[in-house]
Amino acid sequence: MEDVLSRVQKAFESAFHIDPQTVTIDSSPDDISAWDSMGHVELASSLERTFGLTFDVDDLMEMENVKEILRIVQSKLEKVPSATIP
């Protein structure tokens, strides 16, 4: 399975049409101009599709940067039985 960061990068690519390599573990909305309020909703949908997860409002509020996104995605993936990971 690809590592989580590269799948997160792909979710960014699909949400914002940007080069996935520009997304690093240190990226935040300050670095990615399309990551605004509307963009955040698109990004969450893109991450949901990529990982087959659903996020609640509190998850969205905590996704302040890529590091936090990785933390939230990883903790959710751990709770999901591996058979359901697409």
Binding site: A34, S37, E48
Partner: protein, 488 residues
């Protein structure tokens, strides 16, 4: 009319600042107090003049969700230099076209903002701030009511940007009329998540400062709860947003569990918000009034306002024209139509702008004999309330009958399980045109498509219904019709 400093809108704003005035950056907690604001604005005015800019020269101002953009904008107006406002998020993509269109001489950007095209072409780029300058050391540039104050970008239906010429008199007339329509007091503070390059955002800044109040900018609406907490932290009394913002608050925030006791009013403009969503916001925050407004950049900002006490019996209406405006509904030949009949909405009054900068053809199409041809189709009821039916280019003709996308979208959005809907037209062999619907559904909803089809009026033809994760939106949060077409 004699040119005089008293007609300078920025000069007038500074005179009216009070103890409650402030510009605040919620993301950093930085406060620019009312006491300091005049010297800071005049610092920008003196700074622009010191680099050789003169009255009537244009300067591109990059507008982010932080106070310095407003200081730079007002500083230019104070000096008689014409700011060309551009959304910071659009600076890289359309900044150069606006710069060229305006014949601007320099670009101002906030700290940490990049502007590669300007640097590559040796355009003077001013970054960050200027030292404050005592307000008494520099008078506001003398002007008349009709003198150009600011150029506001607006995207025409063709997609090419245009610059609306907004005069000092336009700004004052619209600001004063909006203040009265919203009963703004002298102790108000607005939470603003839109930049001043969008006329709605600018109008919130103007009205609140003009009344001696303040504005809090918050760039973190992607984490919408932070903005809700900031409203409480900074004692905001006004919140302003486009329909998408209210949909995010209802669907993607904890507004139901974060009380907003100090908030007095919600302002909503920039398209139609479903009446059910307005009712839901009112249920959640019953202590705040909800103002629906309608406007256009070509009319400075706002044209009409629905009084909150008429939300019940006039839900879906754009309200009454502001007190200093005259509105008429005309047919294709320009004949005024009686109440109830749908035609083009035209507006006249002191906040209607004089035209587009360096674009006589577009100006002639949109402005004639003092009337602004809004391009919006509307009717008025027997009480004089305006009902916007859609834009001229936002109709579908099915079986010979014109139906606005807005009407279709409202009908579909009222279906249980549907959060948002956007409609587009495709050619159809029998109906002429048929609808394609893009719908965003609630979590775990099934059978939504069936329910939509079931509730569909028989005279409407639907080619397909597609469930999508999100609708394409413009930077200002409106449904992007051109992008929607690429989905079709």
């Amino acid at each position: 009319m004699q040119r005089s400093p008293e007609f300078n809108f920025a000069g007038r704003l500074l005179q009216r600042l009070g103890e409650k005035s402030a510009l605040i950056d919620a993301a950093t907690g930085r406060v620019f107090s009312g006491q300091d604001l005049p010297d800071l604005v005049v610092g920008f005015a003196a700074g622009f003049l010191s680099i050789g800019l003169q009255a009537r020269d244009r300067v591109l101002i990059s507008c982010g969700l932080r106070p310095p953009s407003t200081l730079a904008y007002l500083g230019a107006v104070y000096a008689g230099i014409v700011p060309v406002l551009v959304d910071e998020r659009a600076l890289a993509m359309s900044g150069e076209a606006l710069f060229t269109k305006a014949g601007a001489k320099a670009v101002w950007i906030g700290e940490g903002v990049r502007c590669d095209w300007a640097r590559n072409q040796n355009v003077p780029v001013l970054a960050g701030g200027f030292d404050p300058c005592p307000v008494h050391s520099l008078q506001p540039a003398p002007c008349t009511d009709g003198d150009l104050a600011v150029l506001m970008p607006t995207s025409g239906s063709t997609g090419s940007p245009r610059l609306v010429m907004v005069s000092h008199g336009n700004l004052r007339a619209n600001t004063e009329a909006i203040i009265r329509s919203q009963h703004l007091g002298t102790d108000e503070r607005a939470m603003l998540i839109m930049p001043v390059s969008y006329c709605f955002g600018a109008s919130v800044v103007h009205t609140h400062l003009y009344q001696g109040g303040g504005v809090v900018f918050d760039s973190r609406f992607m984490f919408s709860d932070k903005v809700l907490h900031s409203i409480n932290t900074y004692g905001c009394t006004t919140f302003a947003g486009v329909p998408a913002v209210y949909n995010i608050l209802l669907r993607r925030s904890n507004i139901r569990s974060i009380p907003l006791p100090g908030l007095r009013r919600f302002l909503q403009a920039g398209g139609a918000l479903a009446p059910e969503s307005i009712r839901e916001i009112q249920r959640v925050v019953p202590t705040a009034e909800f103002f629906v407004m309608y406007g256009q950049t070509e009319a400075t900002a706002r044209i009409s306002c629905l009084p909150p006490d008429r939300l019940g019996d006039k839900a879906g209406s754009a309200g009454l024209p502001l007190e200093n405006l005259v509105v008429r509904i005309v047919d294709d030949e320009g004949r005024e139509l009686p109440e109830g009949e749908i035609g083009e909405n035209q507006v006249r009054g002191p906040s209607v702008c004089s035209g587009y900068f360096d674009d006589p053809e577009a100006t002639a199409r949109k402005f004639a004999d003092g009337w602004l041809k809004t391009g919006d189709f509307a009717c008025r009821d027997h009480d004089g309330y305006l009902w916007i039916k859609g834009r001229g280019d936002e109709f579908i003709k099915m079986r010979g009958i014109r139906v606005s996308f807005a009407e279709v979208e409202a009908k579909v959005a009222a279906t249980p399980g549907v959060d948002e809907c956007a409609a587009a037209a495709v050619p159809h062999p029998e109906a002429g045109e048929a609808l394609v619907l893009y719908v965003v559904t609630g979590d775990g909803e099934s059978g939504v498509v069936e329910r939509i089809r079931h509730a569909f009026p028989p005279q409407w033809t639907c080619a397909s219904i597609r469930v999508v994760a999100e609708l394409p939106k413009t930077v200002n949060g409106k449904i992007s019709r051109p992008q929607l077409r690429t989905l079709a």
